[in-house]
C-alpha cells in the first residue's frame, strides 16, 4: 500500500475502528469462555482460606464449615465444628493495605475472646515486604492471642518486630511492611467491631 493513502484520515479512522472492534470482540469472547473456571478458582480459594484459618487443609469444607449470618445487619459468620465437638467462629475481614485491599479470616475460640487461627491475603502489597502477611510465620503468631484486656475489647496491636512476644494483645509486624501491618491492625479492629454486640449476646 502506498504511503500517501496509508496516512490519510479515512484510512486511519477505519483502521482504528476495525482494530477496536476486533480487540473488544476477542477480549469479551475470551472473558466469557474463561469466566466459569475463574469463578470456580475464586470459590475454591475462599473455601481453602476459611479452612486454613482453622488449621485444616484439603477437600473438607462441606464436612466442617457451615455459613450463617448474625445480627440485624446480617453479618457473615462461618462456624467450624471440629471432630471433638468444639466450635470455632470464623469472621471475614476486609480492610485497606498500602497499595490495595486486604482480606482475611479470623477464627475465634468459643469464648469469642481468644484467637484460634488467622489467614490474610492481599491484592497488591509489595512482594517481600507487605506481601509477607500471607506467610504462615505471620499468621501463626496470632494463635492464642487475646482481643480483650480484662473485660474491655482492645483488638490486637501490631508492633515493631521483636516487641510482641509476651504481650497477649499484640503480634509482631513485618519489617519493611509497616504500613501494611498497620492496615492489618485496622482491618481486624474495624471488621470485628460490628460483631461485638453479637459476642456479648453469646457470653
Amino acid at each position: 500500500m502506498d504511503n500517501r493513502k496509508r496516512n490519510g484520515n479515512v484510512y486511519t479512522f477505519i483502521y482504528a475502528a476495525i482494530m477496536v472492534i476486533v480487540v473488544a470482540a476477542l477480549l469479551s469472547f475470551v472473558s466469557q469462555v474463561l469466566k466459569p473456571r475463574q469463578v470456580a478458582n475464586m470459590m475454591a480459594e475462599k473455601q481453602q482460606s476459611i479452612l486454613r484459618s482453622v488449621h485444616l487443609e484439603g477437600n473438607l469444607y462441606e464436612r466442617y464449615i457451615r455459613d450463617t449470618v448474625v445480627g440485624p445487619a446480617h453479618l457473615a459468620l462461618y462456624i467450624c465444628t471440629l471432630e471433638d465437638g468444639t466450635r470455632k467462629y470464623i469472621i471475614p475481614l476486609a480492610g485497606k493495605g498500602l497499595w490495595g485491599p486486604l482480606r482475611g479470616y479470623l477464627a475465634l475460640n468459643g469464648d469469642f475472646r481468644t484467637i484460634y487461627g488467622a489467614v490474610f491475603d492481599h491484592d497488591a502489597e509489595t512482594p517481600g515486604l507487605g506481601a509477607e502477611i500471607t506467610t504462615a510465620a505471620f499468621s501463626d503468631s496470632f494463635r492464642g492471642k487475646s482481643l480483650y484486656q480484662a473485660d474491655r475489647f482492645v483488638s490486637l496491636s501490631i508492633l515493631k518486630p521483636g516487641k510482641a512476644a509476651s504481650n497477649p494483645n499484640a503480634v509482631d509486624g513485618i519489617s519493611g511492611g509497616t504500613l501494611t501491618s498497620r492496615g492489618v491492625e485496622n482491618m481486624i479492629r474495624e471488621s470485628l467491631e460490628p460483631y461485638l454486640p453479637f459476642f456479648k449476646h453469646y457470653e
Binding site: T12, V30, E45, P127
Partner: protein
C-alpha cells in the same frame, strides 16, 4: 543472522544493562526470586508475540496512530495472558496480577517494537522479542537472587541461611534489611551493569 538476532540482546546488547530499558520494573519486582521469574517469563512471551503481530501488521499500520496500535496490541496480549493464567494457573496469576500494569508500560516492549518489529519480517521480529525478554529476565533473576539471599535469607522461598546462625537464635547473622528496600535494587542493578559491561567495554564505547 538469526543466531545474532537471538544472542545479541541477551549479552552484547542486553536491554537492561546496555540499552538501559526496563530498569523501572527491574527495580520493582526483584525482592524475591519467584515473582522475578514469573515476570521474566511473562515479559518474554508478551515481547515475542507483540513483535510478531506488529511485524505482520507493519505494512498496514497508519503512521499517525502507530503508538496507539502498538499499545492496543501489547495491552490485549497482557490481558489475554492474565485471563488465561487466572483460569488455568490461579496461583501464578495471583503473583503476576500486580505486575500486569508494569508489563504494559515496560519500555523494552515498546522500544523493540519501534526499533525492530516495524522494519523486519515476522520471524526475526519474534526471535528478537523472545531474546530481549530473556536478556531482561537474566538481569532480573540475577538481581533478585542477591536481594532474596541477602535480604531474606531464602531462595525461591526456601530458607538457605541456617536458622542457628541468626542472632535471635544465639548466632552472629542478621538479614540485611536494606536489600529488601528499593534503593538496594538500584545499587545491585548498577553493580551488575558494571560487571556485565566490563568485558563489552571496548566494543561498546570505542565504536
Amino acid at each position: 543472522m538469526n543466531k545474532r538476532i537471538f544472542l545479541d540482546p541477551i549479552f552484547k546488547n542486553n536491554p537492561v544493562s546496555v540499552l538501559a530499558l526496563g530498569i523501572c520494573s527491574a527495580l520493582a519486582v526483584t525482592v524475591k526470586l519467584e515473582p522475578a521469574m514469573v515476570m521474566a517469563l511473562s515479559v518474554t512471551l508478551v515481547t515475542g508475540f507483540s513483535e510478531l503481530i506488529l511485524s505482520l501488521l507493519r505494512n498496514t499500520v497508519p503512521n499517525r496512530i502507530r503508538i496507539i496500535v502498538q499499545l492496543v496490541v501489547v495491552a490485549t496480549l497482557v490481558i489475554l495472558v492474565d485471563q488465561i493464567l487466572k483460569a488455568y494457573a490461579w496461583q501464578v496469576s495471583k503473583q503476576l496480577s500486580v505486575f500486569v500494569g508494569l508489563i504494559i508500560t515496560n519500555c523494552i516492549i515498546m522500544g523493540r517494537i519501534e526499533a525492530f518489529a516495524l522494519s523486519n519480517k515476522p520471524f526475526p521480529a519474534f526471535v528478537d522479542g523472545i531474546a530481549n525478554g530473556l536478556g531482561y529476565g537474566i538481569i532480573l533473576v540475577a538481581v533478585s537472587f542477591f536481594r532474596e539471599l541477602l535480604g531474606s535469607g531464602t531462595l525461591m522461598g526456601y530458607p538457605v541461611v541456617p536458622q542457628k546462625w541468626y542472632a535471635v537464635n544465639g548466632g552472629f547473622y542478621e538479614n540485611n534489611g536494606l536489600f529488601i528496600l528499593p534503593p538496594m535494587a538500584l545499587i545491585v542493578v548498577g553493580l551488575i551493569v558494571w560487571v556485565f559491561n566490563a568485558q563489552n567495554d571496548k566494543k561498546v564505547w570505542n565504536k
